[in-house]
Symmetry: C2
């Protein structure tokens, strides 16, 4: 999906970092170089005139950067700027001869167009070079750089992508030049909306005055101002662009014009200052108003303000580092599916919201809910699922799954009525924080002290787990198996072989379940996360063990629930965990990646047999569970769009380099490594387990220094991409992880070879 | 917010209803008259040429409707149509002299502009008259009506509102004329996005060919097609518009032109047919793939397909009634806050999605989450709340509240450790369907058969309720109060007086709680819905009783939770239920109206004392509860926008006419009436309670006949507006309710007067 933007990290540091030397004279935390991207509501609205006039007002040095230019006089705009604002450096990156849209122009010139990523990199590089210069000069409190776009906001770049999409990852604040002609209210507002929905900061709109022939003056700026002022946007009217026979320099020298642009420049610096004041305020106050999940507030350190995000990157602000970019190393708590700030997703959700809002669901349908359900049934549900039940998050969706399974079991075994109902599960599982699913875990710090109503209600198996240790894949057999050894494997391929069988599992599982049943326990469901336990610490459970568990439960009529909230929808490089296991459940739960990483939505899929267990005379027999926002159109539309974007994914995908993973497993600090699909998990040796672990925290800190944001799970450090992240990006991140853990030590590599 | 659109119901019936006589020859369920709204990517792109050429291809009769025309030759476009397509009826509604935007033109002509509502009504009326004519003629299988907009998609209408917003409630399918000039890719796609985010069906985009001077042909349609085809949109290029000196009729008669528009017309009918086939398919298949909440599938009737929604109206499709509009009488399960299809909301959510997606929340912040929390603390939390904890829905948010309260209690009374913890609550309360909050209710059909883990864990008080009976407000005293009578009140004012006190409440509550405590029970929290129990059947609990309950719990150190999921944020005509009671809780829960009716989001607000109960050395003492999508930016942005739209609401607002409510309480079928804020509840006399009630179902059916969609709560029929619905709209709905329940019977009125 996205190439590693080589220049972005350094660009951001240069632009906004407080520690930048050139900002020593500035107000704390407020960057001085003003970098703006100039956009037009349409072509020919005066972008270049505005850029030129603004650059004339700048204290030196200043930069005019035109990434793409079309028209017979190559670099025409940059030449004009050079002539009228001679102190500005004027740079054009790509020029094409025909005055048409850049993609058409490139093809007419028969020139291979640059990719969007390289266009962004070149732009960032140009800005970076300029900012370095300021740094070296170190005596300018106010520098100005303008990046001028070509045509309207949604005009194509040479690749054919829309301009507003192509430049999004640069995160540059936008200055929009309005269309002052008849129809210009519409084109300006539409361009404004197009930039806003893509996440751009549009703080200011400038119109050039426009006098019609019969002396009627259009007041587009008045109409536009009325609409946008609630967003806190300023709208200005600049003196009319001079006729073609008046040299631009004369226009710029007119006192009214010169005053206008001097004031505009002041305003733009003020906007930037205000923006950073707001970020600072938010960062300072956040810890006073929020009650954070999973956070001990007495030891809460500095809060990170996430200003925006794009792809796998977060644009963060804190007072120590200013505004800076970080790799989102954990997919924003495992939710990021299609990349942050995904315009197609934003449009899909916005459209559903504008078409419906939320519309009630029981005995009704809306198109997004219908399309998503159809797509799930023919995707992750293919071959087994008959029904889709929507709810709001993984935790509630698992509770729904339990109700389904318990009822099925009760219908099938009415003679067991009255026995205490328990689940069969694996130690270390996690299904959410609502009180019902909390009971589906063994006693731990996560539940015992959290509510007096907690009661562990299951028969829990300590699981055989698999990992890379010192370069070798192995399965670690727990004591109950009677196997006093680790199983050494030829590689991950052997581990994941859907036909692999470890006979001791079945016999021991049978024994244990028989004993429990004999003691009067009724099993209402088997509840497991297939293949990988996420919150449990990225633990790869031996698939052969899970298959045996499913088979033993099936044999005694216990419904099988797969909690795929974490594992489902390409998290593990495959469409579902069930697919990796090669076993289908009776009930499957999906959430997180379901909306591509936007809003909460969950789906509990069930087989026909489970569904039929709720048939009855009256409503009392029905599943009386529902949330107000059940099947909310915006979330379902996000789901439909996410499924569309995942569509190209096929087979078992590899994200992280397995050879490097093997090397990492040999590093001194690393006890074991798990690598599967988008997940790379590293168990760090240290002086404690769980919350007491300090080794993992140290690794996290070093990753942070490398620009990678991550969080520990006890003594496990993990890195997670999105299902759409491309391999090159993962390789770059992997290099950072490798650097952090090996310091390039030769010994480590040798151990890996051994 | 919205006036009752007088002509809309009838328009829809005429347009799309299967029972319409003129459709007898048509394919079942597929309407024949094709009504399209013609939009422009910009002004001057050829809307009128396109309309004219299309109308020439129509089988008679056809209609050209221009709601707003500007320019010196009044009704110029309609005149042109009349000349070139003489068989079409051509109508102009409003003309202004100056060729500028309609709001400016109206002010230059010094003419009072029509409101948006009346512009829509007039347009609908014009369409309606035309469609009636077809009905009478009854021999035309294909009629065409085009409503042509003025300028670009976001150009203003005379009121100054944007055209795409002003016409939204008409729900007309859109035909977009693209901009073929330089810059036209951008303006066309931006207009397309502007229409889409407002929920319009844009099925087709047509460009007129455009040859540049040096014979380069712009290929805007190619670029636009590449972008929109994934949305299933067709893009066509029509033969170039002739030069000004060639009469339009000549152009239209050219075979290439004539063929193009004949084919386009075929395509547009096909699109409409496909649209209805899809609706039909969805309606038929929905019951095969969904598992509906709270629904016994064995008795599931016909499913309603909600095709779109606007304000308080749903646009529904089913095979019996075709596409038809219904009043959303229950605010889409109590969620609708700012009106369906609210463009400001769609833009706010789309923007947050495009700027962030979801970004992780612990130890971090994003602007929408920060703004919403600040706004809640200075709004519903003012004077008591210190912290905001986000979660995904009311049910989980109440579970969070319980964890908070239980910990506070445990910290304050460590000596009670080990005692069984219960809540104090009111019979008939409802807090959601997750397993934890299910335990906060007495045994009922909603919980006992739903899960074997259910255990009612509370001391529940049967509540004194208040209602209008036979025109008189009274409080119905339960037996335990020892009061063997109903308290007759002077009116609702007396009931809601924040100083009213019923001394017997306190003494009896104290007695009961003392007894329970003496038996070894520990009270972890008081959990109530302030003032009105929603799911319990729109039961108005005597506020004096709730105040007494709070006081008695406070006196013994039991934390007080108000579940305001239903009651909060202007549901009851006041900012919160707490405000109506005049009492503040320790923990307050908000959801539903929090996002204005778009996506799930919940906030649990807590006092500083509650928050401090989680202080500790390590993370184990912290509140270890969190959802992946905690504080998701899109939902929080929706919240910020909802709060902005609610901002104008002040004091205690009345939505439903109290005099009519009094009359209704005298109707034969009505046992009692509750009316407060946006809620009108009617308990219907009948032959059963709860699910067995048939009286309520009959009333629901009659309301359905009147075009009002509602659902029963046992034997209660209720109607609910949004907090922004205007009084005139409520009055219209109230009239329908009155008609349904009284048949204008005189006796009823007399009883009310007595």
């Amino acid at each position: 999906m996205q190439r590693w933007p080589k220049h972005r990290l350094s660009l951001f540091r240069l632009l906004y970092s407080r520690s930048n030397r050139s900002f020593s004279t500035a107000k704390p935390g407020i960057p001085n170089p003003l970098v703006l991207q100039v956009w037009g509501a349409n072509t020919g609205v005066g972008k270049t005139v505005l850029s030129t006039a603004l650059l004339r007002t700048a204290e030196q040095p200043s930069l005019y950067l035109k990434p793409v230019q079309t028209g017979p006089s190559l670099a025409a705009d940059a030449l004009l700027v050079s002539k009228v604002a001679p102190d500005a450096r004027a740079v054009t990156l790509h020029s094409y001869n025909q005055p048409v849209s850049p993609d058409l122009a490139a093809s007419l010139d028969d020139i291979q167009p640059p990719t969007d990523a390289s266009l962004c990199e070149q732009t960032a590089h140009g800005l970076g070079q300029f900012l370095e210069t300021i740094n070296i000069l170190n005596n300018h409190t106010r520098a100005l750089a303008l990046v001028e776009t070509a045509g309207g906001a949604l005009s194509p770049v040479p690749s054919g992508a829309l301009q507003a999409d192509a430049y999004r990852s640069l995160n540059l604040p936008a200055l929009l030049v309005g269309d002052p002609t008849l129809g210009g209210i519409s084109t300006t507002l539409a361009a404004y909306e197009a930039l806003r929905i893509r996440g751009y900061d549009v703080s200011t709109i400038v119109f050039f005055a426009n006098i019609l022939q019969d002396n009627v003056q259009l007041e587009n700026e008045v109409s536009v101002k009325r609409v946008v002022e609630k967003d806190g946007i300023s709208v200005f009217q600049a003196p009319a662009i001079p006729p073609i026979d008046v040299p631009l320099i004369e226009y710029c020298q007119t006192p009214a014009v010169s005053d206008f642009f001097t004031n505009l420049s002041e305003h733009l610096y003020d906007v930037q200052e205000k923006r950073f004041r707001n970020l600072k305020h938010m960062q300072e106050r956040a810890s006073d108003i929020f009650w954070y999940p999973f956070t001990q507030h007495t030891s809460l350190g500095s809060v990170t303000c996430i200003d925006s995000a794009s792809g796998d990157m977060l644009s963060c602000y804190d007072q120590t580092n200013g505004l800076h970019e970080m790799v989102d190393g954990i997919g924003s708590w495992w939710t990021n599916g299609v990349g942050h700030g995904n315009a197609e997703m934003a449009k899909a959700m916005g459209r559903a919201c504008g078409r419906y809002g939320h519309v009630m669901f029981p005995e009704a349908t809306n198109a997004p809910a219908f399309e998503l359900a159809s797509s799930l049934l023919s995707g992750v549900g293919q071959g087994w699922a008959d029904r889709v039940f929507y709810s709001d998050n993984g935790s509630t969706a698992v509770e729904v799954a339990l109700k389904m399974a318990f009822r099925k079991r009760a219908r099938d075994f009415p003679e067991h009525t009255g026995k205490p109902v328990k689940i069969v599960a694996i130690d270390g599982g996690y299904h959410g924080d609502t009180l019902g699913v909390m009971d589906c875990a063994t006693e731990s710090v996560y539940n015992e002290q959290q509510t007096p109503w907690f009661e562990s209600r299951g028969v829990f198996f300590e699981a055989p787990t698999a990992s890379l240790v010192d370069g070798v894949w192995q399965v670690h057999m727990p004591e109950w198996t009677g196997a006093n050894y680790d199983i050494i494997l030829s590689g991950r391929g052997e581990l994941m072989d859907r036909n692999r069988d470890v006979p001791v599992y079945s016999s021991k599982i049978k024994e244990r379940l028989d004993t429990a049943e004999a003691s009067g326990v009724e099993f209402g469901a088997l509840l497991i996360e297939p293949v990988l336990q996420g919150a449990g610490g990225m633990r790869l459970i031996d698939p052969a063990f899970q298959r045996a568990l499913v088979a033993e439960c099936r044999a005694r009529g216990v419904p099988v629930i797969f909690d795929e909230v974490f594992t489902g929808l390409w998290r593990l490089g495959s469409e579902s965990g069930a697919g990796l296991l090669g076993v289908q459940p009776d009930v499957g739960v999906f959430a997180k990646l379901l909306t591509g990483g936007t809003v909460p939505l969950a789906a509990t899929l069930a087989s026909k047999e489970v569904f039929k267990a709720f048939d009855g005379e009256g409503k009392a027999e029905a599943l009386l569970h529902g949330h107000s926002y059940t099947a909310h159109a915006s979330g379902c539309a996000a789901g439909v769009e996410a499924m569309r974007q995942y569509e190209g994914l096929k087979g078992d995908r590899e994200y992280w380099d397995l050879a490097t993973a093997r090397e990492l497993s040999c590093a001194d600090e690393v006890e074991e490594v798990v690598v599967l699909g988008t997940v790379l998990g590293l168990k760090i040796r240290g002086d404690g387990e769980g919350y007491g672990a300090t080794g993992a925290k140290k690794v996290i800190d070093r990753l942070q220094q490398e620009g990678v944001f991550s969080r520990p799970l006890g003594n496990v450090v993990y890195i997670m991409s999105t299902p759409l992240t491309d391999r090159a990006w993962c390789d770059e991140v992997m290099k950072k992880v490798h650097r952090v853990l090996t310091n390039g030590s030769e010994r480590t590599s040798k151990r890996a070879e051994a």
